[in-house]
Each structure stands twice: as C-alpha cells, then as structure tokens.
Assembly symmetry: C2
Homo-oligomer: 212 residues x 2
C-alpha cells in the first residue's frame, strides 16, 4: 500500500492512539473491538480524525463494528516502528541525563511493549567514564562513532549544557545517527536527513506562564 506524505501531527496522534490502547489493557479481551468514537474520546480527538489518520495507512476497521483492538495495536506498533528493539544512546551523564536514563531503563524492564533500550552513555568527565548506570556503560565522547556502530545505536539523546550542545550534535551527526532527541535549551542545526526533536522544559514553563 502506497503511503502518502504523513504530516508530523498525524504521527504524534498515532503515538497517542497506541498509548491509549496499551493503557486500556486490551489483552484481557481477545475479541474486543473499539470504535473510532470511543478511541477518539479516550485519546482526546474527534472520531473523524481517528478514522482519517488511520485511513492514511490502510483499512484496519470493519463497518458496523469498529477496529479489532489487539490488531490495531499491533498495526500501530508496526507503523511507528516500535515493534522492534531500538538501541538508544545519551550524551551528557549529568543530573538530567542520569534521571532520563534510569527512567527509561525502568520502563524497559517493566513493560514488555516498551522497546527503547538504553545502550550507552557518553560524557567527557574522566570521573564518570568507565562507570555505569544500572548496567549501562559510560564511554568517553571520543568513542561515540565507534560505539554507535558497534552497538547499533539508532536514537541519541542530548543532555549536555547548551554551550556545547551544537558541537556535540555535530559529533552525533558524524557518528551516523539519524534521530536525535534534544534536551538542551538551544536551537540546534542538523542536516535534512537527520530527524531532530527538541524537548525543552524551560520553553514549556514559559509557555504556561502566559496563561497565568
């Protein structure tokens, strides 16, 4: 099936639908069907939107009945590519980086559907290098290229100070990683074939302040 260019917002919503299904504990009922109406309500979007989004990728529903919940969950996992193990790296083993890493590891261990596996941390501090966080080794940033290849790291998380974030990003790009999740509060520049998403707590806080 030919998939047209998919807007970013649609992907964001697919992730939401998937999480809604996962949280519903649908495995308890093998034969559960869910309508676009109900899925929409639970995810916080309209029924029409749900149908439109899903229709972009195929025909997953049955008229008069709805969507087979378990199948839809599997389909969404496949579309979003979260049905396979994904090795994740993190640069900057500071407070935030450590917290993120532990958080991720915990989810990975507790939830068999959560396949983001922390594979390596990178830092410049000689004090930290060689140590590990719950079994995840800390390597010197100089070894990034080598380790990315060796461990097949597909997503790199950046949690370094803003001042060095661009420099580190360039390194990550050179190491061949095509997807970056950035926590540094600064605008990063990457080549067009690299996908960057920036999560910035201080932007979020400032945004909220407007509504006070």
């Amino acid at each position: 099936m030919r998939i047209p260019r998919v807007p970013n917002v649609v992907i964001r919503r697919l992730v939401l639908y998937l999480r809604t299904l996962v949280d519903m504990d649908i495995r308890s009922d093998e034969n559960l069907f869910i309508s676009s109406q109900e899925l929409g309500e639970r995810a916080g979007v309209t029924a029409a939107q749900v149908r439109k989004d899903l229709a972009l990728f195929g025909e997953f529903g049955k008229q008069g009945v709805g969507y087979h919940a378990l199948s839809l969950m599997r389909e969404l996992q496949a579309i979003l590519k979260v049905d396979r193990d994904i090795a994740v790296g993190l640069v900057g083993a500071g407070e935030l980086g450590m917290a993120m890493t532990r958080y991720n590891i915990r989810r990975y261990n507790q939830n068999p559907d959560y396949l983001f596996r922390m594979a390596a941390l990178f830092d410049i501090d000689p004090e930290k290098i060689g140590k590990d966080v719950e079994g995840v080794p800390i390597f010197p940033v100089q070894e990034m290229e080598e380790r990315v290849r060796e461990l097949n790291i597909q997503i790199m998380t950046i949690a370094v100070p803003a001042a060095v974030a661009q420099e580190i990003t360039d390194m990550v790009v050179r190491s061949g990683v095509k997807a970056i999740l950035n926590f540094a509060p600064i605008k990063l520049t990457v080549p067009s074939d690299v996908h960057l998403y920036s999560a910035d707590v201080s932007l979020d806080l400032q945004q909220l302040a407007y509504y006070l």
Copy 2:
C-alpha cells in the same frame, strides 16, 4: 490595545523569539535593531510570520529599521508574563522530579532573566518529607492546598508515577493552581479554567522511531 484570541502556536513562537533575543546577548549593544528577517532566521521561522505574530500584540517595529532588540525583549517578557517572579511547585520528589528541580534552581541562580523560582516540593514518602533539595523544602502532599496559598505557587509540575497522576492532579486543581506541567506518561483531565501542558519523553521517543 485589544488583543484577539491568540493561537497556542503563536505563544510557542513568542517564547522562541524571546529566547533568541536573550541568547543573542543584545545587552552589549543598547542601540541594536533587528529585522523580522534576521530574527526569523535565527528562530527558524519566516520573516512574515515574525511580523504577523508580533503585530497581534502591538506595533513594536519601525519601518525601514526593524525592532529595537532590547525593547522587544522587554515587551515579549511582559506579554509572556515572565517579567515577574513566579513560584513553581513540584509533586513527586523522585529521580526525575529531583533532576528537574535542581536544573531549575541552577538556571534561576545563574540567569537573572529566568524567574521561575522553585518554591516547594511535595511527596508522600515519609523518608523524604522534611528534607530539602538545595534549600527547597519537601512537604507532605496533604499540605498542598495550604502551602500553595502560603507560598503563592502559580505553576505546579507533576512528576509522579502514571498510576497516581490523575489523583494528584485533582488535588493540585483543588489547591487552586491554574497552570500544570505534567511529566507523567498519561492523559490527564482538568477543568477548562486550568491550563495543562504535558511533556512526555516516551511519546517523543516513539515519535522519533517512526522516522528511522
């Protein structure tokens, strides 16, 4: 001046413009003017968009010259209400919560333009209650309503496990806080007069996986 309903995306961009100006270190030149063209380039949006966004709130520019950088910065701070001290609370003094708190405190101490002041943490763990994180006290969640009033907490950050996040949110709402930043990976429901923004790392990671 009458301000029309402002779309959320515009607020998001205003925050971006403000940060761009702050990062430019414009204080070194009292008389610096910046064009919508340049500001747009630095922030990653078109010049027309910059002008349109700003025009929603007033006329800040000068034809043929551009915007007085320092004045624009002050205007944006006022519009976004980040020109005054804002007391922030956090529920869930776990790993992530602690990391966020320390991160915020550090920024507050280092940057005189960053006015989000961590005022209190809340937790249920008797081990943690009574202790403090870099001077910020940890209170029992039961005292939330009282402490919010006493400390004039305006934004509450939620960093508790997903399982109790809605329950805690209801408490936050009862305590009178009108702006919530949520880190728990779950859809929360709040009354329409409460502003909620959810930052979810696992959603971000899943979204990135699609582009692999």
